[in-house]
């Protein structure tokens, strides 16, 4: 092999090496990024699973407390009310004891009502028995009894069945929205519109307040320990739903909740 040939081979070798280095850099970096992306996806999936588990645990605990309150404390209060009723029949003296007893009975009634409201808020029994639409209707009736705001519920569509987990999450989202409207929106009227088609579930929550519902939700998101909008988004994210806020004319806010493929899986 002469000197010319050595130089040619060397040059060809270097050229190939140069190209190889460039190609290797491209593929190696691509592989690294793809690996990292796969890890990130896995991490996100794990976080989602954790969130679902936390929310499920929370719901189970709420259900247990609601049942305990309703079945035990509620029953005991009902017995107390009955006893008070019987006691009033045996009361003979007219020193104002009858009035005191009547007041106590009324107070017991108020406690029972409050207890029902708390129990219903913790776990809506109507959701398991009658479905989302009725549970929301019943929630509105309960809220109307206790608050100053007039809440109306309107439903259209032929009552398609909603998957239990999705229904519970949507119910909690509406609950969270209502809480925020009552706290921050200074509204006097709220309208909840429920509409379902076979593929899309739509719930609009309209208020005639100061239009600061979104701001308040956003603020609560930034606060440590406060869930607000983050809670709403997480719940909707889990069930593949979305929420959109818009200004309502003349005043207030409209929150539009949309959930696709909301019906329970068959089989």
């Amino acid at each position: 092999m002469n000197f010319f040939e050595i130089v040619i081979i060397g040059t060809v070798g270097m050229l190939m090496l140069g190209i190889l280095v460039v190609v290797l850099v491209v593929f190696q970096q691509k592989a690294v990024i793809q690996h990292k992306l796969a890890l990130r996806d896995k991490d996100l999936e794990l976080q989602r699973e954790r969130l679902v588990a936390v929310l499920q645990g929370q719901e189970q605990e709420r259900k247990r407390i609601a049942e305990d309150l309703h079945d035990e404390v509620g029953a005991q209060l009902s017995v107390l009310k009955l006893n008070l009723g019987q006691l009033s029949q045996h009361l003979k003296t007219g020193n104002g004891e009858a009035e005191r007893l009547k007041e106590t009975k009324e107070f017991t009634d108020t406690i029972i009502q409050h207890l029902r409201f708390i129990s219903q808020s913790l776990h809506p029994q109507a959701l398991d028995n009658l479905g989302l639409s009725h549970a929301l209707d019943s929630f509105c009736s309960l809220m109307n009894k206790n608050k100053q705001v007039e809440i109306a519920f309107k439903t259209s569509g032929n009552g398609h069945l909603v998957d239990r987990e999705k229904a519970l999450n949507v119910y909690r989202v509406v609950q969270e929205l209502m809480n925020n409207i009552l706290k921050h929106a200074q509204a006097t009227e709220v309208l909840i519109t429920y509409h379902s088609t076979p593929s899309l579930l739509s719930i609009d929550v309209e208020d005639n307040g100061n239009g600061r519902l979104l701001d308040s939700l956003d603020q609560s998101r930034r606060k440590t320990g406060s869930l607000g909008l983050k809670n709403i988004e997480s719940r909707l994210n889990i069930i593949g739903g979305s929420i959109n806020f818009a200004k309502r004319t003349p005043t207030g806010t409209v929150a539009q909740i949309r959930v696709e493929n909301y019906q329970p899986a068959i089989g």
Binding site: G10, L15, V21, K30
Partner: protein, 209 residues
């Protein structure tokens, strides 16, 4: 480079504002290559020897590319090294130019040293891209970066011209001619470099439409 880069100067000039700081130095390198090609041709016809011009242009291009790499490479130690190296390189250049091989000879020692140093810079930049956490975090592929393509072009060209620079003077002294096949390979490297520079420009245009 080999003179064909003058075609590239048109799109580079038209899109100069879209280039970032390091890419602009890659563009200056292209301009210097055109000056190199035109000057070599002119001096060859005027004085029958243009090898002194080769050596001067090699050094100028080395300084331009040193600035280019000092802007690209993030490691402070390498950055400082790149900024300092033109000084010892200047010493080698002057020594080779005036003493070792002479003004009218091809300065193989300096040319090979400069090519080797530039190959090292290119390698350092490739390694930096491979381990760049920011790119991985943002899921940016290296082939979307204009400077990756500019560096790839330079790397391939310097890879295949390394042996040529090392042996050029030897061939001229001992065989009174040059190996045409090696020159063709260097030309091929130059064409690849031009193509990769153009791809880099396209990526820069995409980044800043």
């Amino acid at each position: 480079m080999t003179g064909i880069e003058c075609i590239l100067l048109i799109p580079f000039t038209l899109n100069f504002k879209k280039l970032d700081r390091p890419s602009r130095w890659a563009c200056y390198y292209l301009i210097s290559s055109v000056v190199f090609a035109v000057g070599s041709f002119a001096f060859a016809h005027l004085y029958r020897n243009n090898l002194w011009f080769y050596s001067i242009m090699y050094y100028i291009q080395f300084v331009i590319l040193s600035i280019y790499y000092s802007l690209l490479i993030k490691n402070p130690l390498f950055r400082r090294l790149i900024k300092i190296l033109p000084i010892p390189a200047a010493a080698i250049f002057l020594l080779d130019f005036f003493k070792l091989e002479g003004v009218l000879a091809y300065n193989s020692i300096f040319a090979a040293a400069r090519t080797f140093i530039l190959l090292c810079y290119g390698t350092v930049f490739f390694i930096q891209l491979l381990f760049d956490e920011e790119l991985v975090k943002e899921a940016i592929f290296v082939n979307a970066l204009p400077n990756f393509w500019f560096n790839a072009g330079l790397f391939i060209f310097f890879s295949c011209s390394f042996f040529d620079t090392l042996t050029y003077n030897f061939f001229l002294k001992h065989y009174k001619t040059h190996n045409n096949l090696v020159l063709s390979l260097v030309f091929l490297g130059g064409i690849i470099e031009g193509i990769l520079f153009y791809i880099g420009l396209m990526k820069a245009k995409k980044q800043r439409p």
